[in-house]
């Protein structure tokens, strides 16, 4: 029913057909072009060339409003619902509410319309309930119901199960199947292969902005799909792992730690090694890093540092114990925007430049020399250390963030996506830095949204699923395919 041939810079001649009553899965890695394609179909980001057909006729979709008028609706990952409003208000948000003779909202009629819609979808939800009080699967269904309220024929679901528990996913899938049987078409975007194989009729895989293929579910296998997503003939990359010789004593061991999103997690970290924490979003990999740095309270479990029991009540405790965090969200959690490169570098180590104990005056020349040393050591490209950090490129900004911890005598580096949104050159420099730090005796925890990186930099990779480690791979074994298989929930690794 919908055919698209959009041409944009991120998409190279991709075409896609979605049929009436079909659940069509769209797969690909981050940056493969999924989001661009969705945005093009939904009118959020009109394609530079190409065409879109609905029921055989070519249409021009250039705004979300025109997309809606042709029956295309998007249900975003976070559902875009107003949590403080009721179900009935959310269902008809953006439509004119029914009015009474005096111009005020006719709540009874709105309630009846909402109830009729919920009945049609078989949802047992009170239209007057607050959306903030609903379960995640109910939220997903309200978001879908809202799409149907605007007569959507094609509903694009962007990672709808990201926040759902397995039994909630089952409820949601039952609803989706029934709607598909009634003729609604779904374009289903997800990273979770097991779910895709459960619900999809056909699968399309994108890689590097190109369509690799489209297959009916019955004619493909999980392995073939993973190969298509990953790309089989990708050039071998330089491996940058520190050698086994540099591995030293255990510096940090975590036993049976439970925290938000992490269940009974156990691991050890040795000096001189790089350990990857891999997993899909919400799998517990990132949550475990946050827990280790004291960002999330530990509900139970034991931390040992150099063999001595130690608990981090706060980020400050963790830092004092020699941990350093490179956060995932560079702009939100790491960069001091508006401040200079020098001020950004000296943030965690200002104590070193204090002259007197009372006023705590800063020895600025020494601070500047330190910043200049870091800048030259990491070859940070800047007009000078007094330039605002905002004037640097993404890769150089990231090097400043890494450089800020080099003077802090940290022994355990928690690097979350240190190479994200960084150009190739800077990436290689960051890999070198990671190896250098490990060879010099630091322990390094590494995460990355680009799964192929684990093999390049890590000695070991722990793969997370459902809040716990479900598999451990050595550096050589940690291919993208193997990690993806384990992360998607098929237990090729070991079970605890």
């Amino acid at each position: 029913m919908v055919k698209v041939f959009p041409g944009t810079r991120a998409l190279d001649g991709v075409d896609l057909q979605v049929r009436h009553g079909e659940i069509h899965a769209l797969l690909g890695q981050n940056g493969a072009g999924k989001s661009t394609l969705i945005r093009a179909i939904a009118g959020a980001d009109p394609p530079t060339s190409g065409s879109i057909f609905v029921d055989g006729g070519e249409v021009r979709i250039d705004t979300p409003q025109t997309a809606r008028s042709y029956g295309v609706a998007v249900v975003h990952q976070h559902f875009n619902l107003a949590a403080d409003l009721s179900v009935r208000e959310n269902l008809f948000l953006g439509h004119d509410f029914p009015r009474r003779w005096n111009g005020l909202v006719d709540w009874r009629s709105l309630n009846d319309k909402a109830q009729a819609l919920l009945d049609r979808l078989g949802l047992k939800i009170d239209p007057r309930a607050n959306v903030g009080d609903l379960r995640p699967d109910e939220l997903a269904m309200i978001a879908i119901a809202r799409a149907i309220a605007s007569d959507a024929k094609v509903i694009i679901l962007d990672e709808p199960t990201a926040a759902l528990l397995p039994d909630e996913v089952a409820v949601l899938f039952a609803h989706i199947r029934r709607l598909a049987a009634e003729g609604h078409a779904f374009l289903y975007v997800s990273h979770r292969l097991s779910e895709v194989f459960e619900i999809a009729d056909r699968i399309t895989v994108l890689r590097d902005g190109r369509r690799i293929g489209t297959w009916p579910l019955a004619e493909t296998t999980r392995a073939a799909v993973i190969a298509a997503i990953v790309g089989s003939n990708r050039a071998e990359v330089d491996e940058m792992r520190p050698s086994e010789a540099s591995r030293g004593a255990v510096v940090l061991s975590v036993t049976n730690a439970t925290s938000e999103g992490v269940k009974n997690f156990t691991c050890t970290l040795r000096a001189g090694e790089v350990v990857g924490f891999a997993g899909l979003p919400g799998s517990g990999a990132e949550e475990a890093v946050a827990m280790i740095y004291g960002r999330q309270p530990l509900q139970s479990g034991v931390f040992e540092l150099d063999g001595k029991a130690r608990s981090f009540r706060s980020v400050r405790d963790a830092k004092a114990a020699g941990l350093a965090l490179i956060p995932k969200d560079r702009h939100g959690e790491a960069m001091l925007s508006g401040l200079t490169v020098r001020e950004n570098i000296s943030l965690p180590i200002l104590d070193k430049f204090v002259i007197d104990p009372v006023l705590r005056l800063l020895r600025t020349p020494r601070e500047r020399r330190h910043a200049e040393q870091i800048a030259s050591r990491l070859s940070i490209k800047t007009s000078g250390v007094d330039a605002p950090i905002d004037t640097l490129s993404g890769g150089n900004q990231q090097k400043v963030i890494l450089g800020r911890w080099l003077g802090a005598r940290s022994r355990i580096f928690l690097m979350m996506a240190p190479t994200a949104a960084v150009d190739i050159g800077a990436k290689a420099e960051i890999y070198h830095l990671i190896r250098k730090l490990a060879v010099d005796g630091a322990a390094i925890l590494f995460t990355s949204p680009e799964v192929e990186e684990y093999r390049r930099v890590c000695n070991r990779v722990l793969v997370f699923h459902g809040g716990d480690v479900v598999g451990e791979l050595t550096g050589e074994e940690a291919t993208e395919t193997r990690i993806m298989e384990i992360a998607a929930g098929s237990q090729y690794g070991y079970e605890h």
Partner: protein, 330 residues
């Protein structure tokens, strides 16, 4: 050592440079223009040494208060209890002078100590109750206004204030008013603190990105009480000077004019020399700009209502200028 000089060039570098130049020097340029225009219009009154001292005396209280607010805004805290705090300082000090046997210096010190404690409470509400500074200080302002009115029974203190207290607001040292010297000392101290100490740098870091600062190991919750008590002490000090100038402690409407001007001057400062960053010297340019406009318009005999209108326009245009430049940067 070798530094690479590969700065990212932006497509419309030339245009933005002009905007950037105005962002940095625009306020100073307008200050100079105003001085020239007022001097041309009133050559015998405006550009005299006496009038210069006069302008400085007129801005001294505002300058002291604005300096304190700058410290708060550097870390991103809005202190709206300024007006009430000025009134409190201007009433509490005369009350201690007339109602207790405390000597003048101790009365002033106790007044400032009370202000510091109230500021620390403001900060504790922000840090540990999770209420925004905007609302917390607005509420505290209301509590203070009410408390002063209640304690005073709406009656001013006019008799019994020792003459030695009047020196602060009315005296001078070598021809320079004491209030001006107080302002200059406060500004000097805060310049050192904000530019050259770990405390000042940390305030900047928190103001830029509180979460990044916390993740770098800074105890971010300790700073709102410190910054808000500094601001409170400056406001109360301003109030003490007002009461010394008036020779009376009035429980109502003393602080109100200082609130808007404090914000106006600090935001003008943020569009001066370092666009998008609050800093003491910028604030002083802002205070001076407002002071010169007030003084010049008065000398020209322009009706008072114009001064309010001009100040409002000035605030909006300076916010627009600093906002635009910050957008460009981001």
């Amino acid at each position: 050592m070798v530094m690479n000089t590969d700065v990212q060039m932006r497509p419309q570098a030339h245009q933005i440079d002009i905007a950037g130049w105005f962002g940095r020097y625009g306020t100073i340029l307008s200050l100079v223009l105003l001085l020239v225009v007022f001097s041309a219009l009133e050559p015998r009154v405006f550009p005299t040494f006496a009038n210069l001292v006069n302008v400085l005396e007129q801005i001294s209280i505002q300058g002291t208060i604005s300096a304190g607010l700058t410290i708060c805004l550097i870390m991103g805290l809005y202190d709206l209890s300024i007006a009430a705090m000025v009134t409190l300082g201007g009433y509490l000090c005369p009350l201690l002078l007339t109602g207790t046997p405390l000597p003048v210096p101790l009365s002033i010190a106790l007044t400032l100590l009370v202000a510091a404690a109230i500021g620390a409470i403001n900060g504790a509400i922000v840090s540990y109750m999770g209420i925004s500074a905007f609302i917390a200080t607005l509420a505290m302002g209301s509590i203070l206004t009410g408390s002063v009115l209640g304690i005073s029974g709406s009656k001013s203190i006019v008799s019994g204030i020792p003459d030695s207290f009047m020196v602060i607001g009315q005296g001078d040292i070598a021809g320079i008013p004491v209030a001006v010297i107080i302002m200059l000392l406060v500004v000097l101290l805060f310049w050192v603190v904000s530019e050259h100490t770990q405390f000042g740098r940390t305030l900047c870091a928190i103001g830029s990105n509180a979460e990044a600062s916390r993740l770098a190991g800074i105890a971010t919750k300790r700073y709102p009480p410190a910054a808000l008590s500094i601001c409170a002490v400056c406001s109360a000090l301003g109030g003490v000077i007002v009461s010394s100038t008036l020779g009376a402690g009035r429980p109502e409407n003393i602080g109100d004019p200082y609130l808007l001007n404090a914000f106006a001057s600090v935001f003008i400062g943020a569009s001066t020399l370092r666009p998008g960053r609050f800093h003491i010297l910028g604030t002083m340019v802002g205070v001076l700009l407002i002071g010169v406009i007030d003084n010049g318009l008065s000398i020209l005999g322009v009706a008072t209502f114009w001064q309010y209108i001009v100040q409002g326009l000035l605030l909006i245009s300076s916010l627009f200028a600093s906002g635009i430049l910050k957008l460009r940067k981001g």
